[in-house]
Assembly symmetry: C2
Homo-oligomer: 203 residues x 2
């Protein structure tokens, strides 16, 4: 690689290295791989990036990423309008959609409350969530947030906020069940998960 | 993600998942990261890919990737024309260039001999290498190939071929030294490396 900083290879490697999970070594590997397959991989990827950047928008109603706003989930009349599942990221929404087990709608916070990172209720659009719950006469809120300190304190905060609004106090609030992952080996699980799974054992 | 296969997000995720070192999970993570940073990351990456695809060519002389052919290394008159370092991949060339310890030129094979993968001498341009060595009156060939079975058999084959051409028989052939990596802990090294480092110990 030339020392001249304007080389298109270096620019490309630097940009790839800035992606989550990639470093300069994996970025160089990907750049080389692409440079050896310009027509069947490199240009199609450039086009796919441009195309997605142009066409994908944030849904004004739930925060999902889709080609239209409201997104195809919010616009789907066959889904249950009275159930709202609150997730931290669009990737969590995708993960739940892949299960096919949920037919309600979503609200994407875009993060979790974190004093350390300076993320407060305003950053997560919780005012907007409360307005949406009132407007859509939601009956059930599922807090599908991760089982981490930030996830659980965010869930707690949202449950508190909902309980504090007289109009919303009838909403049923639930959380994801804790337990042994399906297919998971006990040997590899932490004690907290096993203890919870024991306590919540089912017949 | 919608089930419709034509969604730009799915197209993008599929293309990212096909890159070396990435799977569908990391590809989704990268796609989401980019969709949240369209202007400062996604579009610049699309442009960098297109720009590099258009501008970067394979050097006709050594096989390096650069904006011009011959590449800036082959075109650099201050480098030693009489030393040629043979590497398997452009990434190896880059790795050696980063050391700043080599001032000769290169020849990129583009792979290693492998009976298993059906890669023979013709695939690596060894005829072209021999012609280049004769034409440039090379005096030293450094076989910088990896210390694997394929690397060493390729090195052996090239050394044999060079020795078999009367015009080239004066060329001095060397290989990278084996030993303990700089900064490497003995504890983590295999016995073969330690044995070699002992045998080749220096005063």
């Amino acid at each position: 690689m030339r020392s001249n900083a304007a080389s298109p290879i270096e620019t490309l490697v630097r940009q790839l290295a800035g992606l989550p999970g990639l470093g300069s070594r994996s970025a160089r590997r990907i750049a080389l791989h692409l440079l050896q397959r310009k027509d069947d991989k490199m240009l199609p990827l450039a086009f796919a990036l441009q195309d997605a950047a142009e066409k994908i928008k944030n849904c004004m109603s739930c925060g999902n990423l889709d080609m239209s706003t409201p997104c195809h989930i919010c616009a789907d009349d066959t889904r249950d309008l009275q159930q709202i599942c609150i997730v931290s990221q669009v990737s969590d929404l995708w993960a739940i959609e892949r299960t096919g087990a949920y037919r309600g709608r979503y609200f994407v916070l875009g993060g979790l409350l974190s004093a350390l990172d300076g993320i407060g209720p305003d950053d997560l659009g919780i005012e907007r969530l409360l307005a949406k719950l009132a407007e859509e006469r939601t009956q059930e809120v599922i807090l599908a947030l991760s089982a981490t300190v930030n996830g659980q304190s965010t869930a707690h905060y949202i449950a508190d906020q909902i309980a504090g609004v007289p109009d919303l106090s009838a909403i049923q609030i639930s959380r994801l069940a804790h337990g042994v992952p399906v297919g998971g080996e006990l040997d590899y699980l932490d004690e907290g998960t096993i203890a919870t799974a024991l306590k919540k054992r089912t017949a």
